[in-house]
Symmetry: C2
């Protein structure tokens, strides 16, 4: 790769090749997990080595390749084993499970690195003319199966890696908009924006390893969405290359130009075309910013506190509320306290238990961040603190806030640690209205736990709230259990199904910010309604008549559950406890 | 009509049948207009009488009508002259011009009043099966030709009047959402919401005569959009009946469920289907609210003041800034001052001229409103006042605010007054970025003026800003001139074209909140890009394969300008001054 800013993640897990998650400084983590999940100390399930991987033989499509060679440089095309493997999957649980076992049944036949919109136009044209499948790829961090290199018709499959289109092209500091190429990774983009004194304000947990184009294509949400909005709220204009031409929308703050074409492209997950340029709303860098920790006696109090902040228009930029399960897991991540710090900690615990009457099994940790200019920052911090205290919140100061800030992009690494130890760990997230929130929370917690028990394992399930709206909030569930050997994928699908079924049953949505991809196909018709899916299919048929753009995503087949991989037999056998 | 809440506007103009715009209490108005436009006192061009109107003979479609009669009550169908005439057009300039002259070349063959979603489903099914054209209609106030009862294939045309679906069905006061039927008029809806202590916060100038469904179908903006957002920001979920089934989205604050199907329905102007239910975000009623007037020495200062409020996050809920032209027109609307009030007014003028150095030909009036609970209201008012003063604004107090508040829905009446006197008056509005705003403003003002002069008349052009965003604002141009007898429509189109051409040339959009309809078709391809239009057409083809839903709107034909009605000959003759 010519560009020093481009680093693909390790092919079998999260993060850079040379970064591994270690529990050396987290003495409580393994004992906690072992106790919760009934694990054995010596059970290790490491990934196979690169050398052990056998990729499927690359198909050929000479007319397509020839057409590309005429317009691209030699280093813009690659079919090396490493490149094909890195682009063979996203980071969904099933992706990693299979990769770690060396089960790579699908891989792109070619990886292409466009460097300009002209390159993309040529590639899309060649794919349309020569019936090659294109799978646009940003950071490759998607966990919903958006990047599956599969095709029902077994066509030649091309991974379209956007990583060389990574420049901030223009910043209009008066209008606070920036024209940005979609293949830029989070840190590289913020670095370029910061040089102009502005920020996009979009910091998803995947920030380090995901791209602007990926965020927009999947309707991502960053941890400061309460201030800056979800990514779709920030898109002022875009350019998207489709097999039927290039969509170009105008750089205007709003319009009444019929159906909002910009919004058709946002969230299209690569099934209509390739986003080649984004004009984004940006913000001046905040002068002040502080992260803090708060402890609430229970989840209900924390939720009520956030809701009141929202109603009063006093939202910090982050309010991430862990439920008791997630709070306990976070505590297990802590470095050991020593000396004075340990004593203060003991004193605080005494105070909370004795004076405030906290039950530590029900306690909920909340991380907050306030930011802004002097007035905004102080008002936000003062008034939100007042509301938190009214709901029995206790401020733990900036210490926990700093810990969160330091480790905020590390959480996705944990799954590798778990998978090294025969543990299934994954997430499912949704959103619902305030009135419905605790009902959905309680039922989903129960349903996931029961599903895990059905499979014969002890459940760990936790939840946090991290994106809040006038009318409701998102709920992010994390679950884990010991894997049942020989039935790991059936077990996973059975549990994941329990989570998504619960969302559908209790007034949630299929996903709040992880996309549909192929992993959420069994629920998309319930979410959008059958006619809603028809609308999406109509767009797809109209703009991509040969179906070369990322097939098999968003629009379900005729038997979504079976195509997803879960048989009625497997379901019944778990239900019966076999 | 059975329902007392349903009142159609007069067929030839704006407002209720029994309400007429009068200048009896506005002694300065006629002299001002006469002076600006070179008008004659005795030139009167009143509308023809109802009796003089000859409607085109109603076509028949027996299979369709029979299908409807099987499911609807007799009073839900009407083909009376009055009903057909009232539903023959919206309130675009051309609509009114033709109606007033008795030129009714197109009218629906039947008017249908559904009372439930089941009714709508039956009507849409019958239309699809028996090839009848449906034109969904809310208040009938649209001024962009969204309601034109025309069909290229000369099919049976049905106006689908939604006015009987006018109930607020449910208010969730915890989540602050309300489930509302789309045919409800603004005042009737707010009355039902107010009974629950909430408000939608959407107050377009057409408020009294337009409906929720119409607002959503056209991406309307209300005068308090700076606080409450544009109508599309308020839609939490919806139901829309299409010829391919009913789209139903889930009641969740946000989602990552692929392409946002909700957003495909918003702004679809009836070309995909009929909105039958809307779940809207609502707000608690504000405790405090005050309207005020401010005077700025020039337009630039006023724009800079608004922009700074936006950057500082201190936006009043209304900041409507008139340019010098619009300020002069507003002044001509004033009731005569008497006694003490006149003396104060003189003193204020002396102060502004002598002490503040205001040039009254350049002065710009701004109307503001602040609202909220005690803290929010006072902070908003205090801090915005501080910013306005920094930009040389002078507060005129609550008097002008009250005048605005009293007359805020009256402005659309003025056009009838003008058309009674042989004057063309219309509006074109757009939005652009802050950086581009004054450039677009200056050029568009010049371009409209020049176009009017080309037609041989003296121009009056004014502008106001009333919807503000982080990245830009909307610009609302009002223009008028003496009509050239015998060439009134060519003259109108020539001037309107100058405005829209200028938007396209100078970084604006085709419309900020008036929709595309048929009146903006010549510019929609420039606005959405040809591939963007293809995307809309793909949706239309997929959901409405027989093209029965409101044909001829949003998607342009092959020769949009000619189909619009303006010939190259007419353009050239004006350019040459003939």
């Amino acid at each position: 790769m010519a560009d020093p800013t481009v680093r693909h993640m390790k092919w079998w897990g999260w993060g850079d090749e040379d970064v591994t998650f270690s529990d050396a400084d987290k003495p409580k983590l393994w004992p906690y997990l072992k106790g919760e999940l009934g694990l054995a100390d010596d059970h290790r399930t490491p990934p196979v080595s690169f050398e052990e991987i056998d990729l499927p033989t690359a198909k050929t499509n000479a007319p397509f390749t020839t057409a590309l060679e005429a317009v691209l440089e030699a280093d813009q095309l690659s079919a090396t084993k490493k490149d094909r493997l890195v682009h063979a999957a996203g980071k969904a649980f099933r992706d990693l499970f299979r990769l770690r076992r060396g089960q790579v049944d699908f891989a792109p036949d070619l990886v292409v690195y466009p460097a300009s919109e002209e390159d993309v136009v040529a590639i899309v044209k060649a794919a349309h003319e020569h019936n090659a499948v294109l799978i646009p790829l940003g950071g490759g961090s998607n966990i919903a199966g958006c990047l599956d290199p599969k095709d029902r018709d077994n066509r030649f499959i091309v991974s379209l890696d956007m990583c060389r289109m990574n420049r901030v092209l223009e910043v209009d500091k008066k209008s606070l908009i920036a024209r940005i190429q979609p293949g830029v990774y989070g840190p590289h983009m913020e670095e370029q924006l910061e040089a102009e004194g502005v920020t996009l304000g979009h910091f998803p947990d995947s920030f380090v390893h995901s791209t602007l184009g990926g965020w927009v294509a999947t309707r991502s949400a960053g941890m400061q969405s309460d201030k800056y909005g979800k990514i779709e709220d920030m898109v002022i204009a875009l350019r998207m290359v489709t097999p039927s031409g290039t969509i170009v929308t105008r750089t205007v703050p709003n319009s009444s130009n019929g159906i909002d074409v910009r919004r058709l492209c946002v969230g299209s997950e690569g099934i209509l075309g390739v986003i080649t340029e984004l004009t984004m709303q940006v913000h001046r860098l905040p002068e002040y910013k502080v992260f803090e920790g708060w402890l609430f006696p229970d989840f209900e109090s924390g939720v009520a506190a956030i809701h009141e902040c929202m109603r009063m228009g006093i939202m910090p930029v982050i309010t991430r509320l862990n439920d008791p399960g997630k709070t306990a897991l976070s505590a297990a991540f802590k470095k050991p306290d020593t000396g004075l710090k340990a004593q203060i900690s003991s004193a605080l615990k005494w105070y909370l238990r004795t004076i405030k009457g906290f039950d530590f099994t029900q306690c909920c940790m909340m991380t907050t961040a306030c930011e802004g200019d002097y007035d905004t920052f102080h008002q936000q911090r003062r008034e939100s603190a007042y509301i938190f205290k009214r709901h029995r919140g206790v401020c733990l100061g900036e210490g926990p806030g700093r810990s969160f800030q330091e480790a905020k992009y590390d959480f996705p690494h944990v799954r590798d640690y778990l998978m090294d130890r025969g543990v299934m760990g994954d997430v499912s997230e949704t959103a619902t209205t305030w009135d419905n929130l605790l009902t959905l929370y309680t039922h989903t917690l129960q349903n996931i736990r029961q599903a895990i028990r059905d499979t014969g394992a002890d459940p760990w399930v936790g939840c946090h709230i991290s994106h809040n709206y006038h009318t409701g909030a998102s709920l992010y569930f994390t679950f884990g259990c010991r894997q049942i050997e020989g039935r790991e994928l059936d077990q996973y699908l059975y549990v994941k199904k329990a989570a998504e079924d619960s969302f559908m049953e209790h007034g949630g949505t299929v996903s709040h910010h992880h996309a549909v991809g192929s992993e959420h196909l069994p629920w998309i018709e319930a979410d959008l309604s059958p006619t809603g899916v028809k609308a999406v299919a109509a767009l797809k048929d109209g703009l991509d008549p040969k179906g070369v753009m990322n097939p098999g995503k968003i629009i379900p087949g005729e038997h979504p559950l079976a195509e997803w991989g879960l048989t009625e037999e497997a379901i019944q056998s778990f239900k019966k406890g076999n």
